[in-house]
Amino acid sequence: MSLDKHEMAALVARDIRPGSFVNLGIGQPTLVADHLPADAGIVLHTENGMLNMGPAATGALIDPDLINAGKVPVTELPGSAYFHHADSFAMMRGGHLDVCVLGAFQVSARGDLANWHTGEPDAIPAVGGAMDLAVGAKNVYVMMTLFAKDGTPKLVPDCTYPLTGLGCVDRVYTDLATFVIAPEGVVVRETYGITFAELGERLAVPLLRLDG
């Protein structure tokens, strides 16, 4: 069976080591937070200037001065810290985050990432912090469906959409399979509701099987 977005989020969460500092991108990646064990001491970063962000705020806990990068009201956990934007992005770009989880339009076999612009000529460009996260985090995990709505693969030999970062993606979590972008190529770690052979037929990217 293919995975739904919650199952994908759970898989990503499973791969995050206790004590890690993590940035979860806007959209589906935020679901990963629901699957992080409460006792693992994993600290969430939001690029608008906070470490140890808590869950989304509801009701009386909503504070317009306390939002995440998606501008959703959130809460603070004990041990949280606030800092300004230059410090926050210095933290990201300086390689201090252990993991960031991002959505993507396309990931290439070499780990190039395209997630900020569809390339449509009339689209208004808007990049936010995506390029900074892509170059900065020690491990960049992408979470996406493996195929676009029109059936075209999103794991591709070369990105056709405008790039966000070069060779920056380490792992790709999709509804049908999880992949590791390794120096020797794209390694299939697990498949869901599809066989390795079927996967190879539907993707134009050479795939390696995980040994053992």
């Binding site: 208004i124 170059v135 970062g165």
Partner: protein, 219 residues
């Protein structure tokens, strides 16, 4: 010079000239100096270049300034939002110029302006369309793009509290761009919820020291 405490927002924005580059704090609405922007609308300066993370929400604040045709160019990281219809319309009509800057570059370029750095080699955007035409250099095996400072003639920022000297503290994630813009603006105007007596703020917790602030107003 130490800061002047203004009685009104109109007094706080007095003297902003046509053609100015105006840094406007805030990330979404958090930290957005809404009353200062309204005062700037009333003040009348036009042909502005506005540097802000977003390009306005709904019909108020920055969006209202845009709607009045007072902004020639936006420099921001993320103009496109669910409620950025004012900017979207102007952009599609070719009535506003846009420079999209990665959010970290936006912050770091303003920091550079405030810190006297002439330019810096930055890892963000290498190999992407946003690095096109820019100088590239390899340093210790990694590729960087050369980025230049963004300086403001004016910075409009929102903070939580100020003392009478102009020392500022912020509140939670409303801190965002305020402290950086305060260093990068020639004339720095802060809107705060409250002005307290000098000495009431904890010297260890002041985020923007008074040296950066020219005018404060409670609004």
């Amino acid at each position: 010079m130490t800061a002047v405490c203004c009685d009104t927002v109109a007094e706080a924005v007095a003297g902003i000239r046509d053609g100015s580059t105006v840094l406007i704090g805030g990330f979404g609405l958090a930290g957005m100096p809404v009353q200062l922007i309204d005062a700037l609308i009333g003040q009348g300066a036009t042909d502005l270049t506005v540097v802000s993370n977003n390009a306005g929400n709904g019909d108020t604040g920055l969006a209202a300034l845009l709607a009045k045709g007072r902004v020639r160019k936006m420099i921001c990281s993320f103009p496109r939002q669910s409620d950025s219809w004012v900017f979207d319309g102007l952009y599609r009509a070719g009535r506003i110029e846009l420079e999209v800057v990665p959010q970290g570059n936006l912050a770091e370029r303003m920091r550079a302006a405030g810190a006297g750095i002439g330019a810096f080699y930055c890892p963000t955007a290498v190999g992407t369309p946003l690095a096109e035409g820019k100088e590239i250099r390899e340093i210790e095996g990694r590729t960087y793009v050369l980025e230049y400072p963004i300086k403001g003639d004016v910075a409009l920022i929102g903070a939580h509290r100020s003392d009478r000297m102009g020392n500022l503290v912020y509140r939670k994630t409303a801190r965002n761009f305020g402290p950086v813009m305060a260093t990068a603006g020639e004339l720095v105007i802060a809107q705060v919820s409250e002005i307290v007596e000098t000495g009431e703020l904890d010297p260890e917790a002041i985020v923007t020291p008074s040296i950066y602030v020219d005018r404060v107003v409670a609004a």
